[in-house]
């Protein structure tokens, strides 16, 4: 087998910077960012109004800002869990097929670069753009929290908020990879967008119902087995993984993410906070699942792209 010569990463920085610039100035990105800021701002304001009366009573006041909502406005976490996948999909659904449609692929790949670089550069560009966007949002929330509540956040709260940021970034990256893989599979960007959105809706709305039905069917009438199966099957959905991870981080009193037996609660001080490290251990499998899925999706995209014909 022939071995290629030269670095596979030649030109990566050029593609990365160009893609990041494109994503940052992308009208889709700007619209979604405005939507997130507006909706998140509303839920933050409502949460802050609710929490003001409890200042000093809760040592994790800042984290509550992310999870508390007030009818009819859902919590910040609910908004984010809904809008972040959309952002990922919006950036990824035409990552590659737009190059075909614009007839730029042949021209770019005839430059002294390997085709790997285009895929890596696009992925890095998207990660960077989403990381900057989420970091800006994160800083906005922390700033608003201090402004509204008048209490500086503790080190642990900052660490937990940072962990929430990382999980949210992974969640958005996962949906970006879904969009990117779809953009390689289909030449028409409308088809790739539809596929990615269909997958997102499936895992967010339909999979929990299917998981419940499957658990009943496979549980054999045993309620414990059924409940366990429902949890396991439910975790196939990235949405559930994200919500569970976010709750474990933002609500330090969360002691388990699965079914808890009475025997397991022996000696536990109910309502007490878990240390940050313990909360991270709780979501470690979730983080692993996120990373594994992202790598799997990227590998799929990579293989598909390498096998793709360059010609239009």
């Amino acid at each position: 087998m022939n071995k290629r010569e030269g670095s596979a990463l030649t030109g990566l920085k050029v593609v990365w910077l160009k893609e990041m610039q494109d994503y940052a100035g992308n009208i889709r990105m700007i619209v979604l960012m405005l939507l997130i800021v507006l909706t998140a701002g509303a839920s933050m304001y409502v949460a802050a109004q609710t929490l003001r009366t409890y200042v000093g009573e809760d040592s994790f006041m800042l984290l509550n800002l992310f999870t508390i909502g007030k009818d009819p406005i859902p919590s910040f976490l609910s908004f984010i869990s809904f809008l972040v996948p959309l952002t990922g999909i919006a950036l990824g659904f035409d990552a590659i097929n737009s190059e075909y449609q614009n007839r730029t692929l042949g021209r770019i790949l005839s430059q002294p670069i390997y085709r790997d670089v285009l895929l890596f550069g696009k992925a890095f560009g998207a990660v960077s753009a989403m990381a900057v966007m989420l970091l800006a949002l994160w800083l906005l929330v922390i700033g608003c929290a201090m402004f509204f509540l008048g209490v500086p956040p503790s080190g642990e709260q900052i660490a937990r908020a940072m962990a929430f940021y990382v999980v949210t970034l992974l969640y958005s990256l996962l949906w970006y990879m879904v969009g990117m893989a779809a953009s390689i599979m289909f030449r028409q960007s409308a088809v790739s967008a539809l596929l990615a959105i269909a997958l997102w809706l499936f895992f967010m709305i339909f999979w929990p119902m299917i998981a419940q039905l499957l658990a009943y069917a496979l549980g054999g009438g045993d309620s414990f087995t059924t409940a366990k199966l429902e949890v396991v099957l439910g975790r196939v959905s990235p949405y559930r993984l994200y919500i569970e991870s976010a709750l474990a981080i933002l609500n330090p009193s969360t002691r388990s993410l699965g079914i808890v037996l009475f025997s397991q609660l022996q000696g536990a001080i109910m309502g007490s906070a878990l240390p940050f490290g313990q909360s991270m251990l709780l979501i470690w499998p979730h983080l692993t699942a996120f990373l594994a899925t992202i790598i799997l999706l990227f590998s799929l995209a990579y293989v598909l792209f390498q096998r793709k014909e360059i010609r239009m």
């Binding site: 030269g6 050029v14 730029t104 021209r107 430059q111 239009m312």
Partner: protein, 317 residues
Amino acid sequence: MGNETVVSVSHLTKQYRKGVRAVDDISFSLREGEIFGLLGPNGSGKTTTILMLLGLLESTQGSVSILGNDPFRTPLAVKQQVGYMPDTIGFYEYMTAYENLDYTARFLGLDAEQRRQRITASLTKMRLSSRMNDKVRTFSHGMKRRLGLAELLVKQPKIAILDEPTQGLDPQSIVEFLSLIASLRESEGMTFLLSSHQLDEIQSVCDRVGLFSRGKLISFGTVAELGKLHFGSDVLINLQAEGPTDLLPLLKTQQGVLSVEREEEHTYLIKAEKDIRSSLAQAVIGSGCNLSSLELKQHSLNDIYQLAFKEASNEQT
């Protein structure tokens, strides 16, 4: 045109999984500073060959050498020295002409000043300097083609591969485009490989041509060589004469004449074994006719193309 071989293709084959041979055992070479035309109908294997030359498609069999490099083993070295303009060239429409060229120039490892100089110079040469800060979406098709050539100039390649370069251009733009290519060969010493099915334009600018049919290179050489190969004679004489007698029987009986066709009332096309213009002139004047024109005519590439494909399809059936 130099003598150094810059492109060498030997028994190149591309077979797809379903058994379709897009390119079937082709061999040819290009000399430095040459303009070479790849001709053939759509789907005959021209673009597949070009993609293999660039290392963008792996061959099933055979070898390619571009300036001593294997495009599949050392694609970066090949791409550094070869410029490519695809048949359907596209630019990032939301970027300006300058930004588009700057993006691809960055891959060449040039510093900012070198890029600025090369881009400005090439846009000026392509008469696009006044539009360098305009978005490409405002450009016409012809301007985008010129921008494509400007990109080649920024790269300063030793070999330029242009796939259907005149596709979609109006006749005036085609003339301008071809003269640009000819002037680039003169000024930069670039070797060109043009793929096209526009025969007239290829004949006007190419030194040699290769005819493709169903993945095979059925003919290869100068237009005169191909004429000789397919028509069995390299001499066509166009004669114009008026007189009291019909010249057709007289011309047919002249020594060395293979056939005579009356093209118009007083115009004859004579196919001959060799250049017999002097004996023809004597015969025509001797018969009492007024000879107004007697010129040697080359077989048109169109005639060669039609005949070559007819022969190729006869062989295949």
